[in-house]
């Protein structure tokens, strides 16, 4: 498919046919118009004097943040431990709950395509589309502030992610192995245990570790809405304008994230 036009007896190559070229231009025009319209609306809600002042503010903040207040670190071990617990226990809860959901959502294992599968898919979508911070916001009003709300928030948020990846893994299994186990006269539960589970177990372990890594990141900020962990002292330090403490907390968060990323990469590498 080449768009070639004859001009003064010479063949001229074009990238697209004329109509396709016009359609492309029209799409760009519409896109640009939408962008400018949205920008205009946001610009109306912005106090530009504050924005103009931002570089000076940023410089000021940077000066106030160094050096980090290293003495403050003793107050941070406990919140840090809580953060790791929120992420780990939340991941455990999420992955365990994700198994039945994934089992019901996978086309080849679901008990009922008409009723149970849509319900399982709805659980997955709602869990995935609500951020853990919003889950935490809800749960703090229900269970009260603290680590428990954080664990539940991370757990509920993880269900969707883990169940989605797991049910895709279940749908991709090799049916002939399942068939072979079934041919020995195995019951439904035995087919699941010996035909399906061994095939998805590595994927399941990989997904759990991957989600744990994400959860460490997410649990560092849950404290901002009162759900425990390192976010609590962070929020307190920001409110008190104790910027040297803020910079220390940020450094610790980055260090934790880097370490957890390394651990998860190592573990996934050894699994796969």
């Amino acid at each position: 498919m080449m768009a070639i036009e004859l001009r003064h007896g010479m063949k001229v190559w074009h990238r697209r046919e004329r109509s396709a070229q016009f359609a492309t231009w029209a799409a760009w025009l519409v896109g640009a118009a939408i962008f400018i319209y949205c920008w205009e609306l946001i610009s109306d809600k912005t106090i530009w004097a504050f924005v103009a002042d931002a570089p000076a503010q940023a410089a000021d903040l940077a000066v106030r943040m160094v050096p980090p207040d290293w003495g403050f670190i003793h107050a941070l071990w406990r919140p840090m431990w809580n953060t790791i617990n929120i992420a780990t226990l939340g991941t455990a809860m999420g992955t365990i709950l994700a198994v039945p959901v994934a089992y019901c959502a996978a086309r080849n294992t679901t008990p009922s395509v008409a009723f149970i599968r849509p319900a399982a898919l709805f659980i997955i979508v709602s869990s995935r589309s609500i951020n853990s911070l919003i889950w935490a916001l809800m749960l703090v009003t229900i269970t009260g502030p603290g680590v428990f709300a954080g664990i539940l928030a991370i757990g509920l948020r993880s269900i969707g992610f883990c169940a989605k990846l797991l049910y895709e893994a279940i749908e991709e299994i090799d049916e002939s192995q399942v068939e072979a186990v079934r041919a020995t006269g195995a019951s439904g539960a035995q087919v699941t245990a010996y035909g399906i589970a061994p095939q998805v177990l590595p994927a399941f372990a990989g997904i759990s570790v991957f989600r744990w890594d994400i959860n460490i990141r997410e649990s560092t900020v849950l404290g901002l809405v009162g759900a425990g962990g390192i976010g609590l002292p962070l929020n307190a330090a920001i409110t008190m304008l104790a910027w040297t403490q803020v910079s220390l907390i940020l450094l610790i968060i980055i260090a934790t994230v880097v370490v957890s990323e390394w651990v998860s990469a190592k573990m996934r590498h050894s699994i796969i």
């Binding site: 924005v51 503010q57 919003i134 009003t141 900020v221 901002l224």
Partner: protein, 268 residues
């Protein structure tokens, strides 16, 4: 074959972790960790118990959610989130294209490569919420702070994937374009861009999705959008309005997910 093998053998499922000592160590470590973690996690069961009726009230609020009484606030918040999503996705992708090209090892000179990789690393290592807190401090409350946050996060995501895609491209096609005597920009436009375009359009739509989801969150710390409305609803214990907002968010995310998968199929 030894004589022992005559005795009836039982088949055992092969374990996931082959080395026995490692398996035991991991099991033991997990047990020790769990007792420690559960032992030090304070749960105020009295408070949880007290909150249960409130939780029941919250779930009851979903049947039916109250769209009507706060509709103008909800609509305004959602629209603001959508504007923010559109603008931040466009700006973020526009900036991430040069950064991504610079971070592709096969077409960028080494100093540029390290500089651009540095930008990507910085942008990816901070959580959106933490960025949002600082941008709210710098730019004041409102959607502009959220916009900057989301654009910044988009750069790290999109630039990294673009760079990886360029690194994976077929060099012979680019070579062929260069052999015609094309300039650098022409080479980029006709040799590289067509190869990465289909995937990058898909990823752009996916990032749009993510940005909308995140825009619901940056509002909690003052970055504008639906998050602010949601936060207010929770603070006032107006669960039926909160339920309505959550339903709208879930609906839009589902819509975006379906339409983006449809669009992606259409583009490819």
């Amino acid at each position: 074959m030894s004589v022992v093998a005559i005795a009836p053998r039982r088949w055992k499922k092969p374990p996931l972790i082959k080395r026995a000592w490692l398996r035991w160590m991991i099991g033991l470590g997990a047990a020790v960790y769990l007792t420690l973690a559960l032992g030090t996690t304070e749960v105020n069961w009295a408070r949880v118990w007290e909150g249960l009726p409130r939780g029941a009230r919250f779930f009851a609020a979903f049947f039916p959610p109250d769209f009507a009484s706060r509709w103008s606030e909800i609509a305004e918040g959602i629209l603001e989130s959508l504007w923010m999503t559109v603008v931040s996705t466009v700006i973020g992708i526009a900036i991430s294209i040069p950064v991504g090209i610079g971070a592709a090892k096969n077409i960028a000179p080494t100093p540029v490569y390290y500089f651009c990789r540095g930008i990507l690393a910085v942008s990816r290592s901070f959580q959106e919420i933490i960025l949002a807190i600082f941008f709210v401090k710098l730019f004041g409350f409102g959607p502009f702070a959220g916009l900057v946050t989301l654009s910044f996060a988009t750069i790290g995501f999109y630039g990294k994937l673009l760079a990886e895609d360029i690194e994976d491209m077929d060099p012979s096609q680019a070579e062929a374009v260069r052999a015609t005597g094309a300039g650098w920009l022409q080479w980029l436009n006709y040799g590289v861009q067509p190869q990465v375009m289909p995937r990058m359009i898909g990823l752009g739509l996916y990032r749009f999705d993510i940005n909308f989801r995140e825009s619901a969150v940056v509002g909690i710390v003052g970055g504008g959008g639906i998050g602010a409305t949601l936060n207010t609803a929770f603070d006032r214990y107006e669960f039926d309005s909160a339920a309505a907002i959550l339903m709208v968010i879930i609906g839009i995310v589902m819509l975006a997910e379906y339409s983006s998968s449809y669009l992606r199929r259409w583009v490819q």
